[in-house]
């Protein structure tokens, strides 16, 4: 048991470290380090532009999408090299947030199902961040039950005509392309009538409306499709085989170990270490310590769980299922941590303006953003189902709509 790199890993790390030291946008490092859930901002700069510039620079030097093949703009690196890069990139990795969906999900789906010419055309600019991609799966009527989606695509000659609505599309407003899951046959059970496409987000009939979230920010969108024409050559996989294609996409999401989920613990520890209560420093209070210790071991448990996964990668093995706990643990933890930080502030905890609030309102922003973390990318309940079924081998839910034609499934709960 050791934390040492192999000689090859050490050489790779040294090369990555040197390149980052010479090229990273250092002027933003402090702000990026301080960024916490619900708050990533750069003073006097547009984060989208800074992120795109950093991605382009990485791509030119061969440090973008490390695990992708070279001909598609990657480096052909091993999974462990990708992890080492993430460790070395550190806070600058937060600039990759807007590329995660494109690189982690859209790209691999294109690699699996697009034609060779299409891959060579679309993947390199996706890797270099010149083009941003989004994923159009969720709908008002299909969240956790994504196969319940209703957006229709109908064949017309060499094209498909798409009508319907998507929701919770991250970054649709700045995306150039998207992968789109549609219903092409409503007369068969829901999983059997879906088809996947990719499309140019700028074509006529695509309308994007930002969603104003409960916390006041807008990271997601509603996307409306009105008679949008998609050429059949942009179909990914066979018609009506879209569910299987989407599983590839989602599996890739889980394969990527993630740049580390935010728990809020480092922020809370620092806050308690500096906060004075009526009878002394907060961190000397027994109740505070007990809370902190409970969250500390969750945070460290997550950290070492991901190290175990990295070890497996380092040995050329596939990581075990342990890593599936990350989002589930961190999501509700960050919510509890934020609420507790406000509790410690007493009546003043209600203040959230950066000038008046403790810690510049960091925990208030975290608290208001946190409910979303427990829903996005799989709700807590879906994550527990995944653990129970795929890790513990418990039976799947009884699906009453499994063999029912999609257009016969009830759509209303009451009346």
């Amino acid at each position: 048991m050791n934390f040492d790199d192999t000689p090859q890993e050490a050489a790779f790390r040294a090369e990555a470290r040197a390149w980052i030291a010479a090229n990273a946008p250092k002027q933003y490092e402090d702000e990026l380090k301080k960024a916490s859930l619900g708050r990533t901002q750069l003073k006097g700069a547009n984060i989208l532009e800074v992120a795109k510039a950093w991605q382009k620079k990485k791509a030119e030097a061969g440090w973008a999408c490390l695990h992708w093949p070279k001909e598609y703009g990657g480096r052909g690196a091993s999974p462990i090299e990708r992890m080492i890069w993430q460790q070395e990139e550190g806070a600058f990795g937060k600039l990759s947030a807007m590329f995660i969906i494109g690189h982690g999900m859209c790209g691999p789906t294109m690699m699996g199902y697009a034609g060779e010419d299409q891959k060579r055309k679309y993947l390199p600019p996706l890797a270099s961040g010149e083009k941003i991609w989004c994923q159009l799966f969720s709908e008002p009527a299909g969240g956790s039950d994504v196969a319940g989606l209703r957006t229709r695509a109908e064949r017309k000659g060499d094209d498909w005509i798409v009508n319907g609505q998507k929701i919770w599309t991250s970054g649709a407003h700045y995306s150039d392309y998207g992968i789109l899951l549609t219903r092409t046959d409503p007369n068969v059970p829901k999983h059997k009538g879906l088809t996947m496409f990719f499309l140019d987000m700028k074509v006529p009939g695509v309308e994007i409306k930002p969603i104003k979230q409960a916390n006041g920010q807008s990271e997601f969108n509603e996307v409306y499709f009105t008679d949008v024409k998609i050429p059949d050559v942009q179909r990914l996989g066979a018609a009506n085989d879209g569910w299987n294609v989407s599983l590839t996409t989602l599996m890739n999401e889980r394969m990527s170990i993630g740049a580390g989920v935010s728990t809020g613990f480092p922020e809370l520890f620092e806050f308690c270490n500096n906060l004075m209560l009526e009878d002394g420093p907060a961190i000397d209070d027994r109740g505070v310590r007990s809370k902190l210790a409970n969250w500390a071991v969750k945070a460290s448990g997550l950290k070492y769980t991901s190290m175990r996964a990295i070890s497996a990668l380092s040995k050329g093995e596939r990581p075990g299922p342990e890593n599936s706990i990350g989002k589930l643990v961190a999501g509700s933890m960050v919510q509890d941590v934020a609420a507790y930080a406000l509790d410690l502030q007493g009546a003043a905890g209600v203040l959230s303006g950066p000038e008046d609030a403790e810690a510049a309102g960091k925990f208030q922003a975290m608290l208001l953003r946190a409910p979303g973390t427990r829903v996005e990318g799989g709700t807590d309940e879906i994550m527990r189902n995944i653990i129970a079924e795929r890790v513990l081998g418990l039976p799947g839910d009884i699906r009453v709509d499994k063999d029912v034609p999609f257009n016969k499934i009830p759509t209303k709960g009451r009346g």
Binding site: I283, S290, A293, A296, S300, G301, R384, N385, G393, L394
Partner: protein, 375 residues
């Protein structure tokens, strides 16, 4: 990086698991639980023959000289099987104390007997309620003999020797505490078994009246030795707890797959699935914290105090969580004497209190994190 046990260590785990599955089924645990014997002598002898008791004891003292990672592996299996033997008191506490602070003569005398299963040892630290602290130690070592009462002492009634923390000064500082080694055959020490929540393991009261004892380690350094000892034992105990947590989770999972209610396996109901998923989460977090503790223990890293506290807290929570919800998954049958669920429930709550309770380790963890932060 290899943040995992080696293939040889995993092989040792398989060996230990197989051995314990055969020699320590639940009915063996029950012979001690139901008072038919104070510990399972045959199992104890078997563990010695397998080389498990001396796995981390150097060859010069009759052990296998393997190391602490190997001991972690064995500890996990002992916890999984709820082995009703004085393993933790003898190996994590008494033998480790000798390795940390014993003279060569003391090691020569006792460690080979530990490795061969001929001597049971323990640490007599607590004096009634409260967590480990120098102030809590009143037992006096003035005038050449020990005088006072220790309780609870794990396996105190079956121990052949005990490491005793005693007061040798009155300055109000840590340096008032020194350690002594007592041969339990000596005059002036009397042991009485105490009823406890987990009768598959013994707890005792030791009364010392002018009991002869030899110093262990330097005078006035007793508390510093105890602190190190507790950190080391915390990692090992955490592995026992993770082993128990895993087994309780498996029991719950298996029952949920087999038991039918409302026409379907209860494991298909989300209320049950989610409970089991949460048990898996606790057990996984604890295991990962334990691996870090194992690394720190085996390399004597400066991170050990923090790593040990994290492993201990996480494993205590996981074992308690899995053991109590295992009963819940089993429903009424889980609350019968006949089903084994309560064995895990009892052990989870007893191990939670050994070496200092959860709140003690929470406090310790934050102290240690704060120190690192300030440095």
């Amino acid at each position: 990086m290899n943040f995992d046990f080696s293939d040889e260590q995993k092989q040792l785990r398989d060996e230990a698991r197989k051995f314990l599955a055969e020699k320590c089924p639940p009915k063996t645990v029950r012979t001690v639980l139901e008072g038919k014997q104070p510990y399972d002598r045959e199992l104890w002898k078997g563990l010695a023959d397998m080389g498990f008791l001396g796995v981390a004891i150097p060859e010069a003292y009759g052990g296998a000289g393997a190391g602490h990672l190997e001991l972690c592996v064995i500890a996990e299996e002992m916890g999984r099987a709820l082995a009703p033997v004085p393993f933790s008191s003898t190996v994590y506490l008494a033998a480790e104390a000798l390795l940390l602070a014993g003279s060569d003569a003391q090691r020569q005398k006792w460690l080979p007997l530990v490795a061969s299963g001929e001597a049971i040892g323990t640490l007599a630290l607590f004096e009634g309620k409260g967590n480990p602290s120098p102030e809590g130690i009143k037992l006096s070592a003035a005038g050449g003999g020990l005088n006072g009462v220790k309780k609870p002492v794990p396996d105190g009634a079956i121990a052949d020797f005990a490491i005793v923390a005693a007061r040798t000064g009155s300055s109000g500082r840590e340096t008032d505490i020194s350690l002594f080694l007592v041969d339990m055959k000596a005059e002036g020490v009397e042991a009485k078994s105490l009823i406890n929540v987990d009768p598959s393991r013994g707890q005792a009261e030791l009364t010392f009246r002018n009991c002869k004892a030899e110093p262990l380690g330097r005078a006035n350094e007793g508390w510093s030795i105890v602190s190190q000892l507790l950190d080391r034992a915390a990692v090992l105990m955490a592995f026992e707890q993770v082993g128990g947590a895993d087994r309780a989770l498996e029991m719950g999972r298996d029952y949920a797959l087999d038991r039918i209610a409302f026409g379907r396996p209860i494991g298909s109901f989300q209320a049950v699935k989610h409970m089991l998923a949460d048990m898996y989460v606790s057990a996984t977090l604890a295991r990962s914290n334990c691996y870090y503790g194992a690394w720190a223990l085996s390399t004597n890293a400066s991170e050990l105090p923090e790593a040990a506290a994290a492993a201990r807290i996480s494993a205590t929570q996981a074992f308690q969580h899995c053991a109590k919800n295992n009963i819940q998954v089993h429903g009424g049958m889980g609350f019968t004497w006949e089903f084994d669920c309560h064995l895990y429930y009892r052990r989870s709550n007893a191990t939670a209190l050994a070496l200092g309770s959860l709140s003690y380790w929470e406090d310790a963890l934050i102290d240690r994190m704060r120190k690192r932060n300030a440095a």
